[in-house]
């Protein structure tokens, strides 16, 4: 259809984000520059060489006449921590180096040892590799090491790191044969992780997570793929035009495009364009929507039918919502919800621009959902996530996410998925489906959440209807998920050429909310609580301490301990009381609690909701 990408023609780049200097450009540069040069270019190394050659000054190329005014500078140089004095003209680069270095600094102690001393991985890698790349850098490093004056001024040599990564990868592929004696796999892996974190500038935490998900060769592919920007993709709005007409119109405007793939009848890939693709008259007239290839998939999995009631729980910026409307041919009803009023503006704009007339836009918290409105035929939950699948779009994710962020996301996602499931009417003739998707690749935000939903509600996983993508994990490290998690799909940049994505499709088979066995004790009498408190009186502090890090465990863990924990926290306060008094108190509690649980139910008309909320509170406490 369109003109193919011609590599000989130079791609035009406007003065946009891509044209600006990006972090990581020095990585690219280091790969192309010859090793010796790249080593010596750095100010720190120049300094090191200078310092080493101070006795033989004549060699450094200035006359004695200059020595008078050069001397004080030398004195300054020998001051400890004077590293900023001779920032070269490319100060910005220098700063970048130092930042990276500081990142690494936490583990710098061993690193220095590795560099300087006799036996190290790096050394054996050097011997296994071609020697030419290694020798100049190693020597410069050795010089730098002998200089104790500027300990933090040594920038990590990316070229060396890159080579070491490759070498270590090779060794780890065939560990038995290639490893150095006396080195464990853990040591290799730790070094590799550190190197990768420095080379691709990831946080150590995220890289550890990624290493758990991917086997090593794939991991490198993944990290490399994250450095390359993806081509822009658009989706034809079939409510207003046809893909062929749109492609023709855009080609006339000087856009170079192609159909997206066999699986999509509406997608187009834009290779390059002489006009801004987000402001052509066709765009303004609503003939297409700028949308990543991966965000077409959840809607295709949802497979909305005409005249259905559909809920899009987190709809901003409205790309998926409008695709749903397009598949339904503007019939039926869509409730497009998002919790952020700010982001809803773009939803309203997009829906009007694309001519969607069957949507109501609302601004509720997704967690309130079955209360606001329920009984939908299908629900699409594009949950807020940590965004680890779209690192190339937002490189900040590389460093600013930690365990807490991910678990916070996961917690919110669990709440949302339960309300999504509750909002669906299982008795619906055509539907009863829920699609859960995230643009994250973390297991915590995907498989765990799905597994959690399977345990909590009467749903089962069904095939997504997408014939590509990787199967979800049924086992991950020490976790075992439900075997039906094979039906879920994962998408990666390096294998599927779209953003990292996760899609799961549920079918709800009963509107009843399973009453979990461990909730029954709420109605249970005294003996249960006394047992709990006796169990927990000594155990409590340990559980509390472990709680933040062990949150994922609480998901899989059999529920009773959690219950105990909750009760325990109450029991703990009353611990000072003598035993009989405690018993009495607890008996009061035991009477009060069931009352609490039962009281709201007649009012609410939906007896299940309060109990569900209760469960959440329990979990929140547990975490």
């Amino acid at each position: 259809m369109g003109r193919k990408l011609d590599p000989s023609r130079k791609e035009k780049r406007g003065p946009g984000r891509k044209a600006r200097k990006q972090r990581g450009a020095e990585v690219e540069l280091a790969r192309f520059l010859p090793p010796g040069k790249c080593g010596l270019r750095r100010p720190a190394e120049k300094r090191a060489v200078k310092a080493a050659g101070q006795t033989a000054r004549g060699r450094s190329g200035f006359s004695d006449g200059n020595s008078k005014w050069l001397a004080p500078a030398r004195a300054k140089k020998t001051q400890p921590k004077g590293s900023h004095v001779e920032l070269s003209s490319d100060g910005e680069v220098e700063e970048g180096w130092e930042m990276e270095e500081e990142e690494e600094d936490g583990s710098s102690e061993e690193m220095v040892d590795d560099y300087g001393a006799s036996s190290s991985e790096e050394e054996e890698v050097g011997t296994s590799l071609a020697g030419d790349g290694e020798s100049p850098c190693a020597s410069s490093l050795a010089v730098g090491d002998s200089l104790t004056v500027f300990p933090p001024a040594e920038p990590p040599d990316l070229h060396v790191i890159h080579q070491r990564i490759q070498g270590n990868m090779e060794v780890l592929q065939d560990f038995g044969a290639k490893r150095e004696e006396g080195r464990s796999r853990q040591e290799y892996l730790a070094l590799l992780r550190r190197d990768m974190a420095a080379y691709y500038s990831y946080s150590d935490f995220l890289l550890t997570k990624l290493m758990d998900i991917f086997p090593l060769p794939e991991l490198v592919n993944f990290l490399e793929a994250n450095e390359v920007p993806r081509p822009v993709t658009i989706r034809t709005n079939t409510l207003k035009t046809r893909r062929r007409d749109l492609a023709q119109a855009l080609i006339n405007r000087g856009v170079n495009l192609d159909p997206l793939g066999k699986w999509s009848k509406t997608g187009l890939v834009i290779y390059d364009s002489t006009v801004p693709i987000g402001a052509t008259p066709e765009y303004l007239a609503g003939h297409y929507m700028l949308q990543g290839a991966s965000s077409l998939l959840p809607v295709m999995a949802l497979a909305p039918q005409e005249n259905e009631r559909i809920l899009d729980m987190c709809c901003a910026p409205g790309g998926k919502t409008s695709y749903i409307a397009q598949l339904m041919k503007n019939t039926g009803m869509i409730l497009a919800n998002d919790s952020s009023a700010e982001r809803l503006r773009s939803v309203v704009g997009n829906l009007h621009r694309l001519g969607v007339t069957n949507a109501v836009v609302s601004n509720c918290d997704g967690r309130q959902f079955p209360k606001v409105l329920g009984g939908f035929d299908r629900v699409l939950l594009d949950a807020p996530c940590s965004g680890t699948g779209v690192i190339s779009k937002d490189p900040a994710v590389k460093t600013n996410k930690d365990e807490k962020d991910i678990l916070r996301c996961a917690h919110l996602q669990k709440e949302l998925i339960l309300s999504a499931i509750d909002s669906v009417n299982a008795a619906s003739e055509t539907g009863g489906y829920i699609v859960y998707c995230t643009c994250s690749i973390m297991v915590e935000e995907n498989e765990w959440v799905v597994d959690y939903a399977l345990k909590k509600r009467n749903v089962r996983l069904v095939a997504t209807g997408l014939d590509f993508g990787k199967e979800g994990f049924t086992r991950f490290k020490d976790r075992r998920f439900h075997p039906s998690l094979k039906c879920t799909r994962r998408f990666y940049r390096h294998t599927h050429n779209m953003d990292g994505f996760f899609i799961a499709k549920f079918k709800k088979f009963s509107n009843a909310i399973p009453q979990l066995s461990w909730l029954l004790p709420l109605q249970k009498p005294l003996w249960f609580f006394s047992q709990c408190s006796s169990l927990l009186s000594d155990e409590e502090p340990a559980v509390e301490a472990a709680a933040p890090s062990a949150v994922p465990d609480t998901i899989i863990m059999e529920p009773p301990p959690k219950k105990k924990k909750l009760e325990g926290s109450k029991a703990d306060k009353e611990q000072k009381l003598p035993q009989p008094a405690l018993k009495k108190k607890l008996s009061v509690q035991a009477q009060r609690r069931p009352l609490k649980a039962v009281r709201p139910s007649p009012k609410m008309m939906r007896p299940k909701v309060p109990t569900r909320k209760k469960k959440h509170r329990v979990k929140a406490n547990g975490q």
């Binding site: 119109a249 987000g278 402001a279 008259p281 066709e282 303004l284 007239a285 609503g286 003939h287 009631r309 009803m333 409730l335 009023a341 809803l344 503006r345 773009s346 939803v347 309203v348 704009g349 829906l351 009007h352 621009r353 001519g355 007339t357 069957n358 949507a359 109501v360 836009v361 609302s362 601004n363 509720c364 606001v372 409105l373």
Partner: protein, 180 residues
């Protein structure tokens, strides 16, 4: 969200009538179910009866946009059409203006249509008649008011304004925030 009052309905229909004339009838009586106008936060929305039921169950303070926004009432109770109504004006428009590809962009940036950019115009357009503006490829771009009648357009000089700009689809990008 509430139905329009008598006065409000009149204001809305008068304004719509300037662009689509008696075709308003077609907007209200549709073969695919009943459609109605509703007022929500001073804005007039056009939606089907079915959608109305759904929108009615969303709490008022969290309802952002039920159906299609046609325009809004100003503080002085005048009705102003917004570009979001274009989808419903364009198919029923009685008087149309086509702009040349060269001046398409200029119109989309909020400028009036000049004689030099005028491609075609419906015969017998009166002065100050509401018109819908199309590109030469028949893509609706916005609407406005004819500054000159068709007869006058023939002899006017190339830099004279022939259509006053009221709304254009460029507003989706320019002022997305004020659309609702």
């Amino acid at each position: 969200m509430r139905p329009l009052t008598e006065a409000e309905t009149r204001a809305v229909f008068e304004k719509l009538g300037k662009y689509i004339g008696e075709n308003i009838q077609l907007l209200v009586d549709r073969p695919d179910g009943t459609y109605c106008f509703r007022l929500h936060r001073d804005r007039v929305y056009y939606l089907s009866e079915k959608l109305l039921k759904l929108a009615a169950s969303v709490p008022r303070e969290s309802l952002v946009a039920p159906g299609t926004c046609f325009g809004k009432f100003t503080k002085s109770q005048k009705f102003r059409l917004s570009v979001t109504a274009l989808d419903f004006l364009a198919p029923y428009a009685k008087y149309k203006v086509w702009v040349k590809p060269g001046s398409e962009q200029s119109f989309l940036y909020g400028n009036h249509v000049l004689k030099s950019g005028l491609g075609r115009i419906t015969e017998s357009t009166a002065q100050y008649q509401g018109v819908v503006v199309y590109s030469m490829a028949d893509v609706p771009l916005g609407f406005g008011v004819a500054a000159k009648s068709t007869q006058e357009c023939r002899k006017v000089d190339p830099l004279a304004i022939v259509v006053f700009h009221q709304a254009d689809v460029g507003e989706y990008v320019r002022n997305e925030d004020t659309l609702t």
